[in-house]
């Protein structure tokens, strides 16, 4: 799957955080994360609404990229239609808020669980497909959902979309997004430092060997897929409530899938911090380019994707690991 040799990924199995400077690095990591969290908590008090929204949407992509990373980075099954879970969550919240008058925060558990149910439903057959076939089937299923959302007008409002009652909600959605992002990264960290994470890595490196060693690969792939569907659904609900309007084409938008993949790739897929770093850099860069050179930004983005994939397939974390600045593990 990745460029690493099997030896590279297997050697530190006994010590997931082994390698150079583990203690100092762990302290550093914790300090950096604590500082970042504190900054993010105080952020709304320091700036204006535009910047609050900017960080909110950045956090949205932290959630999406990290979740994609669970099934595709840790487990090695490339989901090219991951935005489907985001879209289901968005529609769940939008329908419940706009049509049934639920308070938005009560819809979030459902916005998370429905995508998990969908993941279980499509995962059971589709996770048997290998390589490009899995990617294509995910893409096709996402498009199918988009068409269903367009056609099923009595439920989703079709192409007109759903409008929710207008309220000012920057702060509450910001903190909800921050909490979800923190929980997602924490979940990734927990997975990466558990036996479950090691089994996922075994499936990624060689599925037949993993099965021969007694790992129930079908069940593990299903768990990973379902876990990777939960938080995108929740953040989808929050984003829908923040925007107060959703419609099928921008909700089941393939570019969102590509964004989360590129962000995870830039940071380093298969690592916990990679998607976070990649999102922070890429989303900021996108915003700046979009702001200053609107006519160029998608062309530049396309070229950027090609360059990253060609020259930095293991991302920033891979670069740091090669230098010995970050400890090497099966999953960092």
């Amino acid at each position: 799957m990745s460029n690493r040799t099997l030896q590279d990924s297997v050697r530190p199995a006994a010590l997931p955080l082994g390698g150079k400077l583990p203690a100092r690095q762990r302290t550093l990591q914790l300090a950096a994360m604590g500082g970042a969290l504190l900054l993010l908590l105080l952020w709304p008090a320091m700036t204006n609404i535009y910047r609050i929204s900017f960080v909110f949407f950045l956090l949205q992509y932290v959630v999406l990229a990290s979740s994609w990373n669970i099934i595709s980075g840790f487990t090695g099954y490339v989901s090219f239609g991951h935005v489907a879970f985001f879209g289901i969550g968005s529609y769940t919240t939008a329908i419940l808020v706009a049509k049934h008058g639920w308070p938005w925060y009560l819809t979030l558990p459902l916005a998370g669980l429905l995508p998990v149910a969908w993941a279980a439903f499509i995962g059971y057959p589709c996770l048997r497909l290998k390589g490009p076939y899995f990617a294509i089937s995910m893409m096709g299923l996402n498009e199918a959902l988009r068409v269903v959302a367009l056609v099923w007008e009595s439920l989703t409002g079709g192409g007109f979309g759903i409008t929710m009652p207008n309220v000012e909600n920057s702060l509450e959605t910001y903190y909800a997004g921050l909490a979800v992002a923190a929980l997602t990264v924490a979940m990734c960290y927990a997975i990466a430092h558990s036996r479950f994470g090691l089994r996922l890595a075994a499936i990624r490196e060689d599925e037949t060997a993993a099965e021969a060693m007694g790992i129930n690969t079908t069940a593990h792939k299903m768990y990973a897929f379902m876990l990777s569907a939960f938080w995108p659904g929740v953040i989808g609900g929050i984003v829908a409530y923040k925007l107060l309007y959703i419609e099928p084409d921008s909700t089941f938008f393939i570019i969102i899938t590509v964004n989360m993949i590129t962000m995870a790739m830039l940071g380093g897929k298969g690592t916990v911090l990679g998607p976070v770093i990649g999102t922070a850099i890429l989303y900021t860069a996108q915003e700046l380019v979009w702001w200053h050179l609107p006519w160029l930004h998608l062309i530049a983005y396309g070229a950027f994707i090609i360059l990253i994939v060609l020259f930095m397939p293991r991302g920033i974390m891979g670069f740091l690991i090669d230098r010995g600045w970050v400890a090497k593990g099966v999953i960092q």
Binding site: P132, V151, M265, I299, L310
Partner: protein
Amino acid sequence: MTRSMVERTPGWVYALYLAIALAGLGVPLSLAGEGFVRWLAQTRSIATFDVTLQVLAGGILQGGLYAVIAMGLTMIFGVMRIINVAHGEFLMMGAYAAFIFFMWLLPRELHSLFTLNIGMAILGVGVFLLLCLPLMFLFGMGVQRLVLNPVVGGPELTPLLITFGLSLILINASISIFSSDFRAIPYLSGALVVGPLALGYPQVVSFIVSAAITGSVFAFLKFSRLGKAVRATAQNAEVALVCGINVERIYLYTFGLGAALAATGGVLTSIQLPFFPEIGAIYILRSFAIIILGGRGNYLGALVGGIILGVIEGLISFFIPMGSRLQELAAYTLMVLLLLVRPRGLLGGIADE
């Protein structure tokens, strides 16, 4: 490696999924129309033999176009194991090349040649394709050499992202050059009347040209030395290399030919319908559905799959209320169901990973 692509799935699982899929189609259907019974009555009154025949013929003509596009994709997929997400954008380039040619390069006095009668119309498209396809072939080879060659044989995510980046570049470049307005080419109008059927001239020309091109590609793959080398590489690149085939050169030719076939599809689209920079999205997932229907790397399968999809779409959009939007769903549903039930495709393809 000859590891089977799918594990065995118990039969009841398929039955369950089929039932749920049918129910899933039934719910929007019964919600969309005023009622199933009324819909059936309506259908019976319009579905005479002649009309059904007309719909079938239209589907077959459309399917010929799908087949050309899908054949390029299945060739790239079969030989290089690459999913070319930018295939739809190669098609768009073909359509805009035709636009540039007809609108800017061709003197006004010669326009009538392409709108005069069906013989001239075919000749015109043929001449243009002779000019355009070598350029697209070179373009495809350039893309392969520059960005795809380093990643052939790697993990599937890499070429997926690279071709997606390429498609972003191509779409937005063409938006900045041509704007996102709809464009169209003046072309022979009217219809060919054969018994009860009335077939639009552009569709007929498109079908004749795609049949000719499909036929020549078949002949090339079947009989020429190079074509045999392409098929050998598709079957097993390593063995082909050992046999003295320059596999990298085959990759170059394959990608060039694939791009040229997509551009052919674009030219044939441009004479039938208005087009715009994002037109590729309409065709790309359909092409995936077709190559999965026919089997990866199976060229006859692409032809059969294209015609099957064209006919199914024609039937759905004619006989089902709101069908023109549901016909997209048909392609995706067909694709996913086939991936699950018979991933080697109807006619069988290369299924080993």
